[in-house]
């Protein structure tokens, strides 16, 4: 089931991205998007987890590019969301290789899908709210928010890298 859902998610992310591009008269980029998802599916079939990392990053980059070019934000966010789901399921599928007894697979899958479903619902709700909110917040406020976020992220990175160095990588 997980493998099937991973492939479905990749295709859905591809469709959303492609639809957003076509509706903004950027149909020529469709080939690149299709090639990207094709490569991701190929990497998935070979169980290359780095393939999903690259595919996910490329999809997010494409969605960000779409938003920067004022494509339909709904499709772009949907593409990013499906790419996230595909990336997550790909990693989950890699972990499932270690299941000793087949009986645990449905339990693990049920728990995982529930959690992922919750992430989807929360993201959709928050996205809708934020898109509404965007109209009322001034740009200076957004910049301030971004600065705080950047500071937090930088701190997180320094902390993670420090941990990585201390533990000799993982």
């Amino acid at each position: 089931v997980t493998r099937f859902l991973t492939l479905i998610s990749i295709v859905l992310a591809d469709v959303c991205l492609g639809w957003g591009f076509i509706s903004s008269n950027y149909g020529f980029a469709l080939l690149a998007v299709a090639a990207l998802s094709g490569l991701w599916v190929f990497a998935e079939s070979r169980a290359w987890t780095w393939g999903s990392d690259l595919g996910f990053a490329a999809m997010i980059a494409a969605a960000a590019g779409g938003i920067a070019l004022h494509f339909s934000p709904g499709w772009m966010i949907a593409a990013a969301l499906f790419a996230l789901v595909a990336w997550d399921l790909s990693h989950f599928n890699a972990r499932l290789r270690f299941v000793g007894a087949e009986t645990f697979i449905p339990i693990l899958e049920r728990r995982h899908f529930t959690r992922l479903g919750l992430v989807l619902i929360l993201t959709i709700v928050l996205s809708l709210l934020t898109m509404q909110w965007r109209v009322h917040i001034r740009f200076e406020g957004v910049v301030l928010l971004v600065l705080v976020t950047v500071g937090g992220m930088t701190y997180l990175f320094a902390w993670l890298w420090g941990n990585r160095t201390n533990s000799g990588g993982s």
Partner: protein, 435 residues
């Protein structure tokens, strides 16, 4: 929560993407870009909130046998009980030594483990000779999304000895100059009761009439002579296994397993004959198994052989045989491929009064088995054989009995041919000469 509890790779990817999107959003002054961060942020948040707090597991391990032979299957049973909070997803992995092959089942198990729940599973492994302490289990717990990862090692009991195969040899004929007082199978160079004729002496009152040598009486009617037989006793025998890196590692392969096989066969046969046998493994460390008799000693020696590993010692130069363990004139058996530096040390052992046998697995034949049959290889092998022949000849000249074992042949075949009866020079000097 400790920093090392986070899954660095996944968090890194998500964090990097979020960071870049925010930067692009600022650069393009596009507020909508921030919305793209939301899926990532929510995903991270859900993972961080649901991450495992601590891992408290009890692991019990049982093995179908703690001592086995190379290649024989061993069934391992692991029982894991969660005595802490529930774990959404936990990977329990038995970090097996590289020498193990998993025949059936898996040493890893991914499962959800509720508080108080126990899970038991089995798998089957087989491995090569060695001693394998199985003292810990790797446990990796994470939330369902795999964001927060905690890793720990849980201690377990258990160890596995994979003993070397023991091939049974025919009776070995060794003749140390000194034997012990107990009767055994080794000729003691003393007259008395026995099987083999030893000599005659003047008749003494009390001698059995059956022991009178009537032929001698016929020649010398004025006096009677009594036949003597050679006493057979047990002996002190020291086995020395050379496990040095410089002599055992040839190319990328090791000849040590052959030496171990030979040592096990010799120890088994010599102990079965009632001798007092000790073992010295000379590798990274000097490891003595004190000389003793019987089945228990056999077990001790096999366990020591299972543990034998190649080490970095350079030469035998610092080797001292404690006299309280092996008195002078005891029999020493060195199992070693032998290099030229060792000759002086072996000769010194001989000059100290020990009877020395060198069982030498042939490293040239061993190496040649793994090389292509080219002209240059054949020439190199010829040169090495000549060098080896010189080394072995020097040993023989010093009175050391040498068994040159081409490892492509079974050891029992070589040992039975060379050690089942004394070499010709021994018979000529001390056996036939006394008749």
């Amino acid at each position: 929560m400790h920093p090392s509890d986070y899954s660095p790779r996944r968090i890194f990817i998500l964090g990097l993407l979020a960071y870049l999107i925010i930067l692009v959003g600022v650069a393009t002054r596009n507020g909508l870009m921030l919305v793209l961060v939301l899926p990532i942020a929510v995903y991270l948040l859900m993972g961080l909130l649901a991450g495992p707090q601590k891992i408290l597991l009890e692991v019990r391990r049982s093995l179908s046998g703690e001592r086995t032979l190379p290649g024989e299957p061993v069934v391992m049973t692991l029982s894991v009980r969660n005595i802490g909070p529930a774990l959404e997803e936990v990977l329990i992995e038995d970090p097996l030594p590289p020498a193990f092959n998993v025949i059936n089942g898996s040493p890893r198990c991914l499962l959800p483990l509720a508080s108080g729940e126990t899970h038991t599973w089995t798998y089957t492994v087989a491995g090569g000779r060695g001693y394998y302490p199985l003292l810990k289990i790797r446990v990796v717990a994470n939330d369902s999304l795999g964001i927060v990862v905690r890793e720990t090692y849980v201690p377990t009991d258990g160890h596995l000895f994979i003993l070397p195969h023991v091939t049974r040899l025919r009776r070995l004929t060794i003749r140390p100059r000194m034997t012990r007082v107990y009767s055994g199978l080794i000729p003691a160079r003393e007259g008395g009761s026995g099987v083999e004729f030893f000599g005659i002496r003047g008749y003494e009152p009390g001698d059995s009439l059956r022991s009178i040598n009537w032929r001698s009486a016929a020649r010398h009617p004025e006096e009677l002579h009594t036949k003597q037989f050679e006493q057979e006793r047990v002996a002190d025998i020291g086995l020395m296994l050379d496990a040095r890196l410089r002599t055992n590692v040839i190319g990328e392969r090791s000849i040590l397993d052959h030496s171990v096989l030979a040592t096990a066969a010799l120890a088994d046969t010599l102990l079965a004959a009632g001798n007092r046998v000790g073992l010295l493994v000379y590798g990274k460390y000097i490891y003595w198994t004190m000389p003793d008799y019987g089945k228990l000693q056999r077990e001790k020696i096999l366990l020591a052989l299972a543990r034998a590993e190649i080490g970095q010692s350079q030469a035998f130069s610092d080797l001292i045989i404690p006299r309280r363990l092996f008195p002078a004139y005891s029999q020493m058996v060195l199992i070693s491929p032998v290099c030229s530096d060792d000759v002086a040390v072996i000769v010194r052992l001989r000059s100290a009064g020990f009877q020395v046998i060198v069982v030498s697995p042939d490293p040239v034949a061993f190496e040649l088995g793994g090389l292509p049959q080219k002209k240059s290889v054949r020439l190199a092998a010829r040169i090495m054989r000549l060098e080896r022949a010189v080394i072995l000849h020097r040993l023989q000249r010093a009175g050391v009995q040498v068994v040159n074992w081409d490892v492509s042949q079974p050891f029992e075949q070589v040992a039975n041919a060379t050690l089942s009866r004394p070499p010709a020079w021994v018979r000529a000097v001390s056996w036939e000469g006394q008749r």
